[in-house]
Amino acid sequence: MATHTGGLTLEKNKGRGLTLDQAVEVRGLTRKYDDRAVLDDLDLSIKPGEFVALLGKSGSGKSTLLRALAGLDYDVVGDGELAVPANVSVVFQDSRLLPWARVLDNVVLGLRRADERGRESLAEVGLAGREKAWPNELSGGEQQRVALARSLVREPALLLADEPFGALDALTRLKMHVLLRKLCAAHQPAVLLVTHDVDESIVLADRVIVLDEGRIVAEEPIELAEPRSPVDPGFAAVRSKLLDALGVSL
């Protein structure tokens, strides 16, 4: 057992170097809270440009894994090795826009001379013309689109998304799925999407991983024709497999 700073090797892959062929490389990752292993000797690799969805019940360790990859797990007891690209963006469940900064300033937060790119990014998520709005003036879906623009304007090699559509209504969520697929096709980041929505994972991902008690219990490549539709028999087959792995029997 070792602390984050002690035993854990967190190596940032600066452009090229450590892992040329993989965007994410995790080996033997263990994280413990009060001696309970939330992540238990976990291995995972994600190819550049690959969209991986992470399914699991609450408490299965999916958010812990995402936070470990984002480098947000200070003072957590753990072990293992992980390598992530230098350029990682995170989309949270809440849009996490600074309420006192206008939309464009939120998008380019921390970037220099990026206003033009920020505008383009806003246009990409369908919010051209809202640069001067305050976050509070936007709807929940619009706020989350700004958060997506804030992530993508940084051209991340890895996009980490922690239930980004969890707080949106069902109709808005469907629109966001279409938008996210379009954006990922255009920018080609590797994506790790944490979700508890099985249909969402099948619609969006190239590969779905099911996590239970800190271990990967199922892995399912999704090879369905576009557009992916729940009425497709192949869709239903994958869904029942994943639900099985999640311990939900229908």
Partner: protein, 280 residues
């Protein structure tokens, strides 16, 4: 079902002759036009009647019209302006220094644990001691000149600025700190983009208290061994029993207090316009 069926029968037994009672509203009701000025106007009327009938002795309280003519005389010979200027200079100097001191201390103590360990305790102790209780000590140290007066005002001002800015800073949502880390903000960018704007509502609330504290301290220091200022003008008037001049001074203090509070609220509305969608 059976209850529903009997309902119409019950209704016919109570014909429309009994008017429907309107529900009483529990709220205070509609806003009265110029409501805020009704109380002061009534007071002014009572004062005028009292003075006109001779029921109020002019030695106790001068008549309102005497106060008005006295104001005119004071302006004509320039005493009002010069005293007001002196007072305003003191108040603003103390306010400015206090704001600076309070903000810097709040940042030092809010952003570093060491800063908090060193600064917060002494400031809380200072807060428990009224500034005016320090006056004897300050007079011994600094004499009775301007530096003593401005120091007293500064000491009264920095505490509310510190308390509210520090509190505003510490209540910034930790989720924003996490965001700042994921987008890779530097320490200075973090302060500029997240900490300062996040603490601004607290700072501005502190400013409202600070402005009041500045005028309050001013009144006291000007009545001690002063040779100029509104407080001195009033002290002098007391010696000669001129209640009209005392009242001119009181009205001035009141007007200055109201004006400056209004100014801070205006700043507040401008600076926090991002909150308007929620608050206003």
């Amino acid at each position: 079902m059976t209850q529903l069926a009997t309902l119409p029968a019950i209704r016919t037994q109570h014909p429309v002759t009994q008017p429907v009672r309107r529900r009483r509203r529990l709220g205070p009701g509609k806003q009265i036009k110029f409501g805020a000025s009704i109380g002061p106007v009534l007071l002014l009327i009572a004062w005028s009647i009292g003075s006109a009938t001779g029921w109020l002795d002019p030695r106790v309280l001068s008549a309102p019209w005497t106060v008005v003519t006295t104001t005119g005389e004071l302006i004509a010979d320039g005493r009002l302006q010069s005293n007001l200027l002196t007072s305003a200079q003191r108040a603003f100097a103390g306010l400015g220094l206090g704001i600076l001191l309070g903000t810097v201390l709040a940042l030092l103590s809010g952003l570093s644990r060491l800063g908090e360990a060193i600064l917060d305790g002494p400031i809380q102790i200072k807060r428990a001691i009224p500034s005016l209780a320090l006056l004897p000590l300050l007079i011994l140290w600094l004499g009775i000149g301007e530096s003593m007066k401005i120091t007293t005002i500064t000491l009264g001002v920095f505490v509310p600025i510190y308390i509210h800015t520090h509190n505003g800073l510490r209540t910034i949502d930790s989720r924003y700190v996490e965001l700042a880390e994921t987008v890779g903000l530097s320490r200075w960018e973090f302060i500029r983009r997240v900490v300062l704007p996040g603490a601004l509502p607290g700072f501005l609330l502190g400013l409202r208290f600070a402005v009041t504290a500045a005028w309050l301290s001013l009144v006291v220091v000007e009545q001690i061994n002063s040779t100029s200022g509104i407080g001195y003008m009033m002290e002098l008037a007391r010696t000669y029993g001129q209640t009209d001049i005392i009242i001119v001074g009181l009205v001035l203090y009141g007007a200055l207090g109201l004006l400056s509070d209004g100014a801070v609220r205006l700043i507040q509305r401008r600076a926090l316009s991002w909150r308007r969608t929620l608050a206003d």
